[in-house]
Amino acid sequence: NAGVTQTPKFRILKIGQSMTLQCTQDMNHNYMYWYRQDPGMGLKLIYYSVGAGITDKGEVPNGYNVSRSTTEDFPLRLELAAPSQTSVYFCASSYRGGSSPLHFGNGTRLTVT
């Protein structure tokens, strides 16, 4: 089982560029999440989804967009990248949302310069 797969692992963007962080899971989980991790700040929820076609904002959604067209995929779109978006991004999924632990991907390290 691959679990939660994130691509790319590393990326450097220039200010103003856009990109999509890919996340796919093969566990047939309904719930999927995007978090960002900044040093010493824990993880902040960006967006989450409770099923295909349903998404909702987390704590820090500004500057990001998501879509959930299939159960497996939950891409995160960055429009007009800013230095403040330099972070490590984790995608996660779970079987029953808050009642089950999250399974995390290996993360994407993004630098915006």
Binding site: Y31, Y35, L43, L45, Y48, P101, L102, F104, G107
Partner: protein
């Protein structure tokens, strides 16, 4: 707004010693999670605590939940170097699927 606080945020301890770390949260919730993260790695689930008084143990780690006090503890028994990592607690925001994380506690166990 749900806030999750961990203390201490940094802990250096010797092998063989015991210690308890704390996770406090600000609003009612009945679900609390502990995760471990090794440097440069992803997060790994340690414990899921779903009710008041829940206690879970795995090896040298034991977690408990007191929903009335809005407090979870993670007790380390006879620490070993392999326990060195960052430990996060996370709490579900009542009635939603949002999981709010604490800032994490970086544990270093010295030989």
């Amino acid at each position: 707004e749900l806030k999750v606080e961990q203390n201490p945020l940094f802990l250096s301890m010797q092998e063989g010693k015991n210690y308890t770390i704390y996770c406090n949260y600000s609003t009612t919730s009945d679900r609390l999670y502990w995760y471990r993260q090794d440097p440069g790695k992803s997060l790994e689930s340690l414990f899921v605590l779903l009710s008041n008084g829940a206690v879970k143990q795995e090896g040298r780690l034991m977690a408990s939940l007191d929903t009335k006090a809005r407090l979870s503890t993670l007790h380390i028994t006879a620490a070993v170097h392999d326990l060195s990592a960052t430990y996060f607690c996370a709490v579900s925001q009542g009635g939603s699927e949002k999981l709010v994380f604490g800032k994490g506690m970086k544990l270093t166990v010295n030989p």
